[in-house]
Symmetry: C2
């Protein structure tokens, strides 16, 4: 059988198992879907290719966005679904599918509440604002980790005696003779480092199959075909198993792929550590706000350091090699952040003089001296005349040793594109028709975030559309 | 049989016709492919769904780009393949597939020469520069029309006793049992306004099928799925039959679609005429260079009018309604262009006073007066402080009546995304493997132009990759 190909039921010799709903993936979206499908009376099998639940969701920082919440009221923040809608479309450069954004913002508040009242997730008593949101509307799960939410979802599954089936990888979607998705060929005892291992079993889904397999940030071949800049040496903040096999299975089954080439990079990442790491705390909250980014070859700045993620990442990639984020001790103090961890890890480096820092990063000293002089004039002149960086309230000239440096090189963070769905989380084919029996939610889908996703909107996306997919898979007749 | 679905040879009862190579489409790419396949010894059938040859190519302005030509030497222009490579990647925001751009620029000069020496195309004795090219490298076919090139290609076909088969629309690609593309189901006597008409015939292609069916600029449903802004009320410069059915057939046959959401809009277009029209002569060569663009609701400018196509189009779309391009008589005179045709067509309107113009377009008069005053100060101050528009050499304050206005609203012009190919014009599947027997060239493919195509690079693309596809379909064994 061809890898990732769609197949017809008449090629299936026997069904090894039968259930109502099969969910592929056990991250935020998949578990939300499974819980709702169960609550709607369906029997459910959740497939997880790895040895543990949670997929890429467990390494998220657990931030979820919602407008009009009680927590916002408590802190006197005026917000609405309409405001969040506008923010998402602005960030997405209006490439977002408007009706999907509408569903997300209209359901965000209730879904956030559901995560508290129904799942029992606890959040920190604060409301944060991240770049691109017009007001604070981001809530952070305790322990600042997505695993806090996943854990509660798993507890709910346990209550229902549902289990995530580990080492179970989807291989092919199965069509019935009347062109309804009716099952999945599953590689049982799957090992993603040794895909030949295990055996194939056929699982019948009487009501529907839900794709909740996440994005493809770690799939170098697939992402590079869509954005040729994203070659192997571009690292990712994702887990290594964030690959495209289920997206390919869906496309081969007729699903329309949309906006696959819109892939978000994190410009705050350092090549001196793996994954998301600790460096972003220094680069995003100190360098971008108070410091400068220097091209080590020229010793010059090249961008407004407070530009959006996409602008910064594109600039760095076009320069072609890591650049140096620089700040002084006063910036670190004014920011209020402790960066000991970054320094201990040698991701951020500390130097008593600018000469030493320049020498370490091989930056021409005269040049970097001129660059800082020029930048520091901004504070007299009231504006950064070179790159128009806004001067934030307690920013100051960079003149106070010690100096801190970090190497910056973008990492693939999120894949905005994916499988096309409608507002019922049903998968849509190339002709614009519904593929009966097939649903999708979360990062595997495309169109919700357009050209660029706002921070903390992914968990909202996964919970809102995961729940919709679960309910509908259990309730919508495929006949 | 499902529309646009891929099918297997074993479902085919009989082959109505057998040939070596089937070419789908009779524009620049398709005819180049057919001629080369014939020259390589293959028998060829060219399918054209319309009643005449040339597809969308015949309404192109016949401009082709190539570096290092004799015509450049004659005019003392220094150029190289490397310079053109850099220009294309810069315009494409480096989303271009580098190796495809390399093939294009390395073959452009010889292919341009081939069009003269072999096809007999005559070009105007001039070399032009269009936005984004770093030197003049664009040659324009006589009559300033793509039909000049198509006519010569058809003459060559006639020499070889080859005919384009009209009203013949590809419906399904056919796979052999060993997974080689081996033929096409063709709707014979096809009528695109009445697709039920005609009958299906099966054409076997012993050596290969070449997709050269063009872009999908007129396919509202398909383009809107990729870029939700491009709804029906956004017109296109394309012919109405520039639709996606062959792209869908290819995807359904396993071909990887890439960068489909990168769709180029022309910001120089007017909603007061159909298609490309005459207005762009005024807007692109007079308004953008000498004049201003005004939001009629506010009476204000909102952009540097000499921004690239993508920036201008995105700004207009985000404003959400047509805006007014404005210039005075001095700008028209200084430009050297005759705009009588635009005025006669009422696409451009002429007013003796600014009040009259403001009144016609419902622009608050006080506001537009202030806006022009502000803009005119640029000439004293030596810079457009509001939007940074470069002041070109013979530009002047806008103070001389009569005043000219045009309504501007972007039109879909070119689809950069499409089917993935390798440098041999072979179609690549989602796993990165070659689909044996399947080739593609021209606008149906994706990746050559990245995020944005430079003017006059499309004909080069079509001829270069059309020729490669034709040669390889005839020569590469599918066994």
């Amino acid at each position: 059988m061809k890898e990732n190909a769609m197949i017809f039921e008449d090629k299936i010799n026997n069904w090894d198992e039968v259930t109502d709903v099969v969910v592929i993936g056990s991250g935020f979206a998949g578990l939300s879907a499974a819980i709702e499908a169960y609550e709607a009376g369906a029997s459910v099998i959740v497939l997880e290719k790895m040895k543990a639940s949670g997929g890429n969701s467990i390494i998220s920082d657990g931030g979820i966005a919602a407008p009009g919440t009680n927590l916002q009221k408590k802190y006197g923040i005026n917000d609405s679904a309409d405001m969040m809608y506008k923010d998402m479309l602005k960030a997405g450069l209006c490439l977002n599918v408007p009706e999907l954004v509408r569903v997300l913002v209209d359901n965000a508040k209730d879904t956030f509440k559901w995560s508290i009242d129904y799942l029992g997730v606890e959040y920190l008593d604060r409301v944060d604002i991240f770049g691109g949101h017009s007001v604070p509307r981001c809530y952070t799960a305790k322990n600042v980790s997505g695993s806090t939410i996943i854990k509660k979802q798993i507890e709910k599954m346990n209550e229902f005696n549902m289990k995530v089936r580990f080492k179970s990888c989807s291989k092919n979607l199965i069509y019935s003779s009347d062109e309804i998705i009716c099952g999945v060929v599953v590689r049982d005892d799957y090992d993603y480092k040794n895909p030949e291992k295990g055996r194939d079993i056929n699982v019948k889904a009487n009501k529907g199959v839900i794709l909740a397999s996440g994005g493809f940030g770690s799939d170098v071949a697939f992402r590079k075909a869509q954005d040729p800049r994203l070659i192997e040496k571009i690292d990712t903040t994702n887990k290594p198993f964030a690959t495209a096999e289920v997206i390919k299975q869906a496309i081969n089954a007729g699903a329309a792929p949309i906006q696959l080439s819109h892939i978000q990079l994190g410009p705050w990442a350092s090549p001196d550590e793996k994954g998301y790491g600790d460096g972003p705390q220094f680069s995003e909250y100190i360098v971008f706000q108070y410091g400068v980014i220097i091209n080590p070859v020229t010793g010059c700045r090249f961008v407004n350091e407070l530009s959006d993620r996409k602008t910064l990442s594109d600039k760095l990639l076009s320069i072609g090699h890591p650049c140096i984020g620089l700040a002084d001790v006063k910036a670190v103090e004014n920011s209020g952040w402790n960066i000991d961890r970054c320094i201990k890890k040698k991701v951020v480096r500390k130097y008593d003089t600018l000469e030493e820092l320049a020498s370490f990063y091989k930056i021409p000293f005269k040049k970097i001296e001129e660059t800082l002089k020029e930048f520091n004039k901004s504070f007299e002149e009231g504006a950064d005349k070179s790159f128009g960086k806004p001067l934030i309230e307690n920013a100051a000239p960079i003149v106070n040793p010690p100096y801190y440096g970090i190497r910056l090189w973008p990492k693939v963070h999120f894949t905005m594109g994916g499988i096309r769905i409608n507002t019922d989380a049903q998968v849509i084919d190339l002709e614009g028709n519904i593929i009966k029996g097939l649903y999708a939610a979360g990062e595997v889908t495309g169109g919700v975030h357009g050209a660029s996703r706002l921070g903390s909107c992914s968990i909202t996306d996964c919970l809102v559309f995961g729940r919709i997919a679960g309910k509908n898979a259990a309730n919508i007749s495929t006949k």
